[in-house]
Symmetry: D2
């Protein structure tokens, strides 16, 4: 732990998380190596991010058919710190690490029931115009922080 | 084979398939029992159905944003005749078994490279109004048959 | 409702369900038609089935590496009674409709928060020998019923 | 382009790719925003990586039940350069950017049919002992390069 470039101080980084979304590893999410397939944490990250945005009152407007903007993932990364197995309960923590006028840097941390970190990650979301695909100002900066 | 209620004569049933879509089993589609997870053949069926509808010129209009109707699955079933493993190449055959004014009964057959049947299935697709969700006449009856 | 061949009396059929597993529709489980993709209820069915088997004390032994048998889906079907949308909470009910010496007929019912049925389904699970793939007697008949 | 820290010189980086695996975007891989869901490129990356490893003769031994080691993803990241839509054909290029004694840094590039880059990414794979989960020397260093 600590080698991830997006984590300066692991203790401080961990403490800044408050919101989490719990998931239980589904049978269909395992692979023939007997553990959680490496593509699935990104599904967990997305669902936790959506719940985080909902808790900030941001997701609702993007889901309305008349919304002119949608949030998209610009980049996404995950460090698989520990192997995860079928039926494990994982808490996926989410926080806004930094928020700009048109994008936000969202961080993720997965914890096993014993409190050990099994996943860390981050990714940029950008608000774009639905029709043109262009970046759009104002991602709801204040709401993402508090 | 033969116990499936939707197959009267397995020889005739098999011979009526012409269109197929090839898939290769992905690593992420296996599960911890070491074989293809049972939820994945429905993904294959959908993709093969979409390609079948495209080959009939039907999918294109449903994909246009201004289309007032969309096709939805009303029911779907699969018989897992043989276990399927990572990296196997499976041909997913599709045919329109019967076509009504507002729905079609689509049949599926999966074959391994040695020609043995590993999957059989069927399902009804219905054309509905995008806004109201109601059934809509005219699924392109003639085009599905020839 | 009622056209499904595996349901004789919908009122009685519905009343016989007791066990359920709750799911919330994930963003990644929707498709470009704006609703739950038709392949996903089978993922819900599997997860609910696994939880049902766990509640009966059956899943645990099958997951042990030294287990000589595994349960596999022999067939599976779903009726999509109502369209389901992002973020909906669905209760997936599971019951053993009938249990033989080597297989069990498992039934499924999905209910929206307003109590309406949105999914019905069924499928056979068979206990097979892990090495040979052959059917194996004794699926835990009594435990599945009560 | 160019802001990704794992790409020094985009022209040189692009030219070093030779192996690719073609995928076609499945209907079930889209989401309600009408484009490829952001979790799916990691599925493409895995499948392309597996095919790359197969082409180097490395995957086969890891898949044998008696293999004492398996390759796992230690980290993974993706930059979503362009939105991707249903039915698009994407070539997923793979190369070994660097290979150590127990791990390899694998890079990915997705190209649309018009040759534009729509995805870039990278990730470390590590060979670990199947039983203990510990890192294991010798990932087949020479084979990954040529």
């Amino acid at each position: 732990m600590g080698k991830m470039e997006y984590i300066d101080d692991i203790v401080k980084w961990e403490q800044e998380f408050h919101f989490f979304y719990p998931v239980t590893v589904r049978f269909s999410e395992t692979d023939l190596f007997g553990h959680l397939n490496n593509t699935v944490p990104f599904v967990y990250f997305e669902q936790a991010r959506v719940e985080f945005l909902k808790s900030k009152g941001l997701m609702q407007k993007w889901l309305q058919p008349e919304s002119k903007t949608i949030p998209v993932a610009a980049d996404l990364q995950c460090d698989f710190v520990k192997q995860i197995y079928f039926d494990e309960e994982i808490k996926i923590y989410v926080k806004a690490n930094s928020v700009g006028t048109s994008s936000a840097d969202i961080h993720y941390m997965g914890k096993k029931t014993d409190g050990t970190i099994c996943l860390t990650g981050r990714g940029t979301i950008v608000q774009i115009a639905k029709q043109t695909g262009r970046g759009f100002l104002g991602v709801g900066k204040r709401r993402l922080y508090y």
